[in-house]
């Protein structure tokens, strides 16, 4: 089963900020027999013509966001189809904004995005938001970090990723973090979230059809997770 899994990493040459690409390196260690496809920006995404089990898109610079939107725009319907077919998407950091309606600059100019979800982002390049995060997702506590110039607004009441217990959601007033529809998960959390959240990773792998997943360095990642959760709860 594992050897049949196809995981597509979109544009790793620049959607790789904040150590997020380590999520895929970790997944490779958890699923050593699976196929990992790295799709470069000048290539057609593999998911357009082939079935894949997992699609990953990591954070990028603001100018790259615009290019990625243009690149993915012709495949909007295909992306929606894959979401409806329960394909797993993991979208981290500001990559979430690609799937919203638009991104608004400080001068009120707007960059149209894919418009798959009813959210929009506002940039404030002079103020960077940094915070820790605890949230609840499918009865699992998610821990992580946020570091961003943007917040998103709009409607995610029926399609959020995690309920905020500490930190902020889509924006400072929101208690609901990210977007989830079927197995499409998009979150502003950055960094090695699969490494920081072993129980989340286990469930994601289960969703790919592995009934009893064994994650890499299980005992040590769980210890690190428990320590972080305890620390975050006291902060």
């Amino acid at each position: 089963m594992e050897e049949n899994l196809k995981i597509e990493i979109l544009f790793p040459e620049f959607c790789n900020l904040y150590g997020d690409i380590s999520n895929m390196k970790y997944l490779k260690k958890c699923l050593p027999k699976a196929s990992f496809i790295e799709t470069a920006f000048d290539e057609e995404p593999h998911f357009v013509k082939e079935d894949v089990n997992f699609i990953y898109l990591g954070p990028m610079t603001e100018s790259r966001q615009e290019k990625v939107i243009k690149k993915l725009a012709p495949y909007k319907e295909r992306i929606e189809q894959l979401i409806n077919e329960n394909v797993i998407f993991l979208i981290t950091g500001n990559a979430i904004e690609i799937f919203g309606k638009y991104i608004e600059n400080e001068d009120s100019s707007k960059i149209e995005a894919l418009g798959i979800f009813n959210i929009y982002a506002k940039r404030d390049m002079l103020h960077r938001h940094n915070s820790i995060f605890i949230g609840e997702w499918e009865e699992t506590k998610i821990v992580g970090f946020k570091s961003q110039f943007t917040f998103s607004y709009g409607e995610n009441t029926n399609c959020y990723f995690a309920k905020v217990e500490k930190g902020v959601g889509l924006n400072k007033e929101s208690t609901l973090e990210g977007i989830q529809k079927n197995n499409f998960i998009a979150t502003y959390l950055i960094g090695p979230i699969l490494i920081l959240n072993p129980y989340f990773t286990q469930k994601i792998i289960q969703k790919m059809g592995i009934e009893e997943p064994k994650i890499a360095f299980q005992a040590d990642v769980i210890k690190a997770y428990e320590q972080r959760l305890k620390e975050f709860e006291t902060l």
Partner: protein
């Protein structure tokens, strides 16, 4: 510029605060400037400036380059003001101006040397217009503050004054494209034997052409995005280097610098590539200022990297090296790891990179661990890796992600007792890699390591005597 009442009020109060802070024995390198800017928001615009302002910015090497520049200028009789002891933000620069100003608000000296934090560009350059601005390099730095290199390079390009002459690292494709309309000279190092065709670093911020998005073809890679490249489809390429180290002799510690068909030889202060770039930046500025090799080389060749950044001593028959490896700065740490693996002999390495402030007051964001090349520590010559601190469990996972055999690794919470686990048998060199904010910790560990080496030596002597 005419001064208003607000300015004089802020200026005199700030001047008085310097005296008051001195009386009570407190640091006066930041507060006076902060006070002045709070009272008079355009204080930096109004305060008198020296005729010539030299500024140094970039992710790594700012302080070292400033130290080198200041030594060269001082030894050649120049009088200047600087922010060497203070902050490199707008308030530190304002404090320096306040200290250096007469009561009229005009400067006593005609020259200033400033280290300027990249992130402060927006608050400094609209008011302080450097005559020369050196940019050493631009890399991923603290993601919480600096986000990414595009953000920083845009901030610099938007704010660097038109009239400033740039002295840029031409081997850094991000730096070499700063403020394209400004006058500039480039420094760089021609191909070295150690350069490669492919990059083995995790963090690479310029893989595709910024003009047309085609893949860049690297003529050679030195580290991360340092090297020379050209676009396969358009005219984007590394610039022509004006001051180029054409032959670097690491063994004899010499380099030849070529400028406009003239070649000059300089002594290297270390064989660390980062320090060669730092020297090149300094020499380029000095030549632009009109100094001769004879005025530059004798001073630079006497330079020593300050103890807080690097130290080496021999204890018994073991070399003990401390190396600053700024936490949250993936490239600085990766360079330190690369340096350790490339040194000769069998090595033990202390890795103490946790941010002690975060450890005391928060929980450090360890995303930067995964932009850092811990993989470089997977080397047969590295026999033991000793790591401790608040994030020891995260570091343990990171080392496993780097495929480092865990039997080589000691990983625990307490830093000081780590020394007890150090195995000296067969070790030629011990490295202590430490964060900027853990100087006391580094010193304590260093002393304990020295004591351990000496005790083992004494024990061996005693055993030999007993055998006799």
């Amino acid at each position: 510029m005419k001064h208003n009442f607000k300015f004089y009020f802020a200026f005199y109060l700030a001047k008085l605060s310097i005296i008051a802070l001195k009386i009570i024995g407190r640091d006066a390198s930041q507060f006076p400037g902060k006070l002045a800017i709070t009272l008079c928001p355009n204080f930096l615009e109004q305060i008198g400036k020296p005729q010539t302002i030299i500024a140094v910015t970039g992710t790594n090497g700012k302080t070292t380059v400033c130290n080198m520049i200041e030594d060269c200028l001082r030894e050649n009789g120049y009088k200047f003001i600087d922010n060497q002891l203070g902050s490199n933000t707008n308030s530190g620069i304002a404090s320096t101006f306040i200290k250096g100003a007469k009561l009229s608000g005009k400067q006593k000296k005609d020259l200033a040397v400033f280290e300027i934090d990249e992130r402060s560009a927006i608050r400094v350059y609209p008011y302080v217009k450097p005559t020369y601005l050196i940019c050493t390099n631009l890399f991923r730095d603290s993601l919480m503050r600096n986000a990414h290199t595009e953000f920083i390079s845009n901030m610099l390009s938007t704010n660097i004054p038109k009239e400033t002459k740039l002295i840029l690292n031409g081997d850094d494709l991000i730096v070499s494209n700063l403020s394209p309309e400004n006058k500039r000279v480039y420094f760089g190092i021609s191909h070295l034997e150690t350069d490669t065709d492919t990059c083995e670093n995790i963090a690479r911020d310029i893989i595709v052409c910024p003009k047309c998005d085609s893949k860049l073809e690297y003529d050679f890679v030195r580290y991360n995005h340092i090297g020379r490249a050209h676009c396969s489809k358009c005219d984007f390429a590394s610039p022509k280097i004006d001051y180029e180290a054409t032959s670097v002799d690491f063994e004899n510690k010499k380099m030849t610098i070529k400028h406009e068909n003239e070649e000059e030889q300089y002594d290297l202060i270390s064989n660390n590539i980062i320090n060669i770039y730092n020297m090149l930046a300094t020499i380029t500025l000095m030549k632009e200022l009109g100094l001769t090799r004879e005025q530059i080389n004798p001073i630079l060749s006497k330079q020593k990297i300050v103890d807080t950044r690097y130290s080496k001593e021999i204890v018994g028959n073991i070399e003990l090296i401390t190396q600053l490896s700024k936490g949250m700065n993936p490239i600085a740490c990766s360079r330190a790891f690369d340096y350790v693996r490339k040194e000769t002999g069998n090595k033990a390495v202390f890795v103490l990179l946790d941010d002690l402030h975060e450890a005391a007051n928060g929980s450090e964001n360890i995303a930067w661990h995964y932009d850092t090349d811990f993989e470089f520590l997977k080397d047969d010559s590295i026999k033991q890796i000793l790591t401790a601190g608040a994030r020891y469990l995260d570091t343990k996972v990171r080392l496993q992600m780097a495929d480092i055999p865990m039997e080589k690794v000691i990983c625990q919470r307490d830093e000081i007792t780590l020394v007890e686990k150090l195995k000296l048998e067969g070790i030629d060199k011990i490295f202590i890699l430490h964060d900027l904010y853990s100087m006391d910790l580094k010193n304590e560990i260093k002393e304990k390591v020295k004591k351990k080496i000496q005790e083992e030596l004494e024990q061996k002597l005693e055993e030999k005597q007993e055998e006799k």
